[in-house]
């Protein structure tokens, strides 16, 4: 039986739909959240029949996991503990949005085993938050951060977005400084992208919103310089951490480990098979309630698929990739040698790995394509 060390749980509910977000999510509506929670546990129960759950990391993402009521959260987290032994869990992350929890809810999560919070701040500037359609204020975000600290989480991270229309370099610098000043253990700094099926993409195509590669690049470098200068390690394209606070769960994805995902829209990859749980909450619940797996988009991954995925993901990390997976490991042949010559990649210790340089990071997709 396949051993699973990493579990992702998708909570697709949002009070308010942000116009840039491409994840599967919807407003809670009149769906019975209790039925949803039970379906999550049932889906895990179904999966546990064919897998050996020995969890080391858990990640609750969304949507907005903190939208669940304390009682539903309790039912879900204790249910989870009842299904499998969680004593080996080294990191349990939950994504939280400001203004969706209080100290009681935070403490409850902390008591039920969550170790790490990723707080969706996005920006500390009122106008940028407005452009992004966020329904919290900078003050609420700051209050939420302090609540998380008060609740005693071992690790609190802050998510920020740059290259938002109207955002200035000064605004972005202030966002970074604020996260540093608050003492965040981890910062995710995401370049805004125009995702399929979002209002932002439509407006981008109409020319109302513009992207600017030069601005993207300078804000990207600003984040690297500011955060590295404050002692954070730039351990993946969009992620920075104080030593020991890197996300173990995300690192598992990037290294090509197997993972199980539950909840509508969640993806699983287990022993060369990949599938998605139905990205339709009602249909997903119905299927689970009928005792059937709610899978879709099943694929079988070949060795070449795995190789390309490693190149696409692991190459984005500070450790880079084993040289052996590109160009047969011959570092003197093209395209490796010319990318080295152009200062886009470098040989990493102990000499058999390749990683992106500072400039290479900004061009990671092109560099990867050149090596594929």
């Amino acid at each position: 039986m396949a051993a699973i060390s990493h579990l992702y749980v998708h909570i697709p509910f949002c009070h308010h739909i942000c116009p840039y977000c491409g994840f599967y999510k919807h407003q809670p509506g009149r769906l019975a959240n209790r039925a949803f929670v039970d379906a999550l546990l049932d889906e895990l129960r179904l999966a546990a029949r064919d897998t050996d759950l020995a969890l080391e990391t858990i990640f609750f993402g969304g949507g907005t996991p903190t939208l669940l009521s304390p009682s539903h959260l309790e039912r879900l987290l204790t249910g989870l503990a009842g299904l499998t032994d969680l004593s080996g869990v080294r990191e349990w992350t939950l994504e939280a949005n400001p203004a969706t929890f209080d100290l009681a809810k935070a403490s409850l999560l902390r008591d039920l085993g969550v170790t790490r919070i990723s707080l969706g701040v996005q920006s500390w500037q009122t106008d940028t938050l407005a452009t992004l359609g966020r329904d919290h204020s900078p003050e609420q975000a700051e209050a939420a951060y302090h609540v998380l600290r008060e609740a005693g989480f071992a690790s609190v991270g802050i998510d920020l977005i740059f290259s938002v229309p109207g955002q200035t370099a000064a605004g972005w610098a202030a966002d970074l400084d604020k996260a540093i000043a608050l003492g965040a253990d981890h910062v995710s700094a995401y370049n805004l992208t125009y995702e399929e099926d979002t209002e932002f993409l439509t407006r981008h195509e109409r020319g109302e919103l513009n992207s600017d590669e030069d601005r993207d690049a300078s804000l990207f470098y600003l984040a690297i310089d500011t955060l590295e200068g404050a002692g954070y390690r730039h351990y993946e394209i969009s992620n920075y951490a104080r030593p020991g606070h890197e996300s173990l769960h995300n690192q598992a994805y990037w290294s090509g480990a197997d993972y199980l995902g539950i909840g509508p829209g969640a993806v699983s990859t287990v022993e060369g098979r990949r599938w998605k749980s139905l990205p339709d909450t009602a249909a997903w619940i119905a299927r689970i309630q009928a005792g059937q797996p709610a899978h879709t988009e099943l694929e079988h991954l070949t060795d070449e698929d795995r190789r390309l995925e490693r190149l696409a993901l692991q190459f984005r990390t500070a450790e880079g990739i084993p040289a052996a997976i590109v160009a047969g490991g011959d570092l003197r042949s093209d395209p490796v040698s010319s990318l080295i010559e152009q200062g886009l990649i470098e040989i990493a210790p102990p000499g058999d790995r390749l990683r992106l340089t500072r400039r290479g990071k900004a061009l990671a997709d092109s560099v990867t394509a050149a090596l594929a």
Binding site: A217, I237, S238, Y253, L311, A312, Q342, L363, A372
Partner: protein
């Protein structure tokens, strides 16, 4: 049969002046063909000819006409190609005749092509019978056309026959004039066989069919013939005449126009203008005027998909079997891969070849910028011909470069003379003569480099004159010019597909134009890409494509992996269609796009 009752003639006319309609009327009036047969037989020509209203191949026909003098004459009509690209073929068809009907539209008057055709007819000493056609049109102005005839062509106006081929007016007068005015074939100097080849077609089942005019002697099945230019011998399998379809006859004699089939497998074995004689009793000299057909315009033709190279080679080979004027030779280009350097008689011929490759062989092809053949005199005295810019010697060993020039006849409305003269000057032309045609039009005669009229001269003429201008040209030899090879370089690497031989004074603007176009289509790279136009290492125009600054996906987590991999697979696949110019990877489509827009 005496040659006294034979008349050989052709019809020369500007496009749309009614040549086809008149031919039909003559065939009907002589009962050579009925209405019912017309569609199937007379118009047995390529789709391309019909669509463009041009004639590429000869369509000879023999008619039997009982004249007013009571005698029955054999009239051979040699329909000729109507485009300057085929002017050598036209000249050979005309050489097979003693006279020509000069057809002029009563409403349009003399046009540029009329002039070029009259020149050719005069060069062959043909008797020209002017026919003013379309006199039924409300806009017809017979006196004006007669005056143009006198003023411009120096033919007495009273010789013109008013006619309307469409309405059947003047047809019998034309037939009578053919009999009365055109002389019969000349008495031969001896009875040895001399037959002029004026065209040939390839028939899948019978091989090459040669179209001939017998000047002297006779030819029949079984005759052992010799081709004068090659010395090759064949046995005649069949002789016949055009009624208009090929109809076998026992023999062809002095004055006859007909065809012969020997054992020839490819059009290249029979050369247009060659003399056929009897191998047993050969004539001592060839008929005058024979030339090896030389391609005038050259371009690279490449398969859009490099996998199609072999197929394209086969297609070109098949095409050449019935088009001996088309030449091709394998070459390779860093930008376009493997393809062929092709030679054509002119731009129309090039278009026809490309179109036939597409239609008849289903090939997707792209051609490079067309060029001409240059005569290069090197400092060591060696003379070479260059049809591909890549083979132009280094400037320091060139003493002189000569380029082909043409004499262009341009008819323009009076009000456009100024613009037209400017256009001629822009194209490095010199005005030879200006003649007033009538109250509204002038005829300009100018010498221009062939290279300058290859691409857009006719389009520009049409736009300057809002469609009222017309042009034609004849070859006028070679003359020295300040020509240089201009290379386009991407990151310092020359891109062969864009190398051109240009006039020094035009190099800069052409270089700037090409550099700007390349800048548009070459995708941003991870480094700065310089695009330069250079002459002998000296940069004359430049553009640069700034380096890509940021291209990285923001989020890569569990749900993004498949999408990310698929994107990478797509990019990997796309790389196969990239051409590497040094370190710059450029999609082949980018080059194709530039070639399309600059041709």
């Amino acid at each position: 049969m005496s040659t006294a009752l034979t008349r050989n003639f052709s019809i020369i006319a500007h496009i749309d002046h009614g040549k086809t309609t008149l031919s039909d009327r003559l065939l009907e009036a002589t009962q050579t063909i009925t209405d019912r047969q017309r569609q199937d037989q007379l118009l047995d020509s390529m789709d391309l000819e019909r669509e463009r209203g041009i004639t590429i191949k000869s369509h000879p026909v023999t008619m039997s006409y009982k004249a007013r003098d009571g005698k029955t004459y054999q009239l051979n009509l040699l329909d000729t190609p109507g485009h300057v690209d085929f002017s050598y073929e036209v000249s050979r068809s005309l050489a097979a005749c003693e006279g020509a009907l000069l057809l002029i539209d009563a409403a349009q008057g003399v046009e540029a092509q009329t002039m070029a055709n009259v020149h050719l007819a005069h060069q062959q000493n043909l008797t020209v019978i002017p026919v003013i056609n379309k006199i039924d049109l409300p806009a017809a102005d017979i006196p004006a056309v007669k005056k143009q005839l006198e003023d411009i062509i120096a033919i007495p106006g009273e010789e013109a026959i008013p006619a309307s081929a469409k309405m059947g007016i003047g047809i019998s007068d034309i037939l009578e004039a053919i009999v009365e005015r055109i002389p019969p074939p000349a008495e031969p100097i001896d009875d040895r066989l001399r037959a002029l080849v004026f065209d040939s077609v390839f028939d899948t089942y019978r091989g090459v069919v040669s179209y001939v005019r017998v000047i002297s002697g006779e030819i029949r099945r079984g005759t052992a013939i010799e081709m004068f230019s090659t010395g090759k011998r064949y046995e005649v399998k069949e002789t016949g005449v055009f009624t208009p379809k090929q109809t076998p006859r026992d023999r062809l004699v002095t004055g006859d126009v007909g065809y012969l089939i020997a054992n020839m497998k490819s059009s290249s074995e029979v050369k247009i203008g060659d003399t056929i004689t009897d191998a047993q009793r050969p004539c001592s000299e060839a008929l005058p005027g024979f030339k090896e057909i030389q391609p005038m315009v050259f371009a690279g033709i490449y398969p859009v998909s490099s996998d199609d190279f072999e197929q394209l080679k086969v297609a070109m080979g098949k095409l050449q079997i019935n088009d001996a004027a088309f030449t091709f030779q394998a070459e390779s280009s860093a930008a376009l891969g493997f393809g062929f350097r092709c030679g054509f008689l002119g731009l129309l011929h090039m278009e026809i070849v490309q179109e036939r490759l597409r239609r008849e062989f289903d090939m997707d092809v792209i051609s490079t910028y067309p060029g001409v053949i240059y005569h290069v005199k090197k400092t060591d005295g060696e003379q070479i011909e260059v049809d591909n810019p890549s083979y132009l010697p280094e400037p320091q060993v060139i003493e002189e470069i000569q380029e082909p020039i043409v004499r262009v006849f341009i008819m323009v409305p009076n009000e456009n003379i100024g613009d037209m003269m400017q256009l001629v000057a822009d194209k490095r032309g010199e005005l030879e003569n200006t003649e007033t045609l009538d109250t509204t039009r002038v005829l300009l005669t100018a010498i221009l480099p062939l290279n300058e009229i290859l691409v857009d001269f006719n389009d520009k003429l049409k736009s300057v004159t809002r469609g009222y201008g017309s042009m034609d040209y004849e070859h006028a030899g070679y003359r020295p010019a300040k020509l240089v090879k201009m290379e386009m370089m991407i990151s310092g690497e020359p891109v062969d597909a864009f190398s051109t031989i240009v006039h020094r004074d035009k190099a800069e603007s052409r270089g700037r134009e090409l550099a700007a176009k390349l800048k548009e289509v070459i995708p941003q790279q991870m480094f700065v890409v310089a695009i330069q136009a250079a002459i002998g290492g000296k940069i004359i125009a430049r553009e640069s494509i700034s380096a890509m600054r940021k291209n990285v996906t923001a989020k890569c987590y569990g749900g993004d992996i498949t999408r990310k991999r698929k994107l990478l697979e797509k990019q990997k696949e796309g790389k196969k269609r990239m051409k590497a110019i040094g370190k710059v990877n450029i999609p082949q489509e980018a080059f194709i796009q530039v070639l399309k827009t600059s041709n």
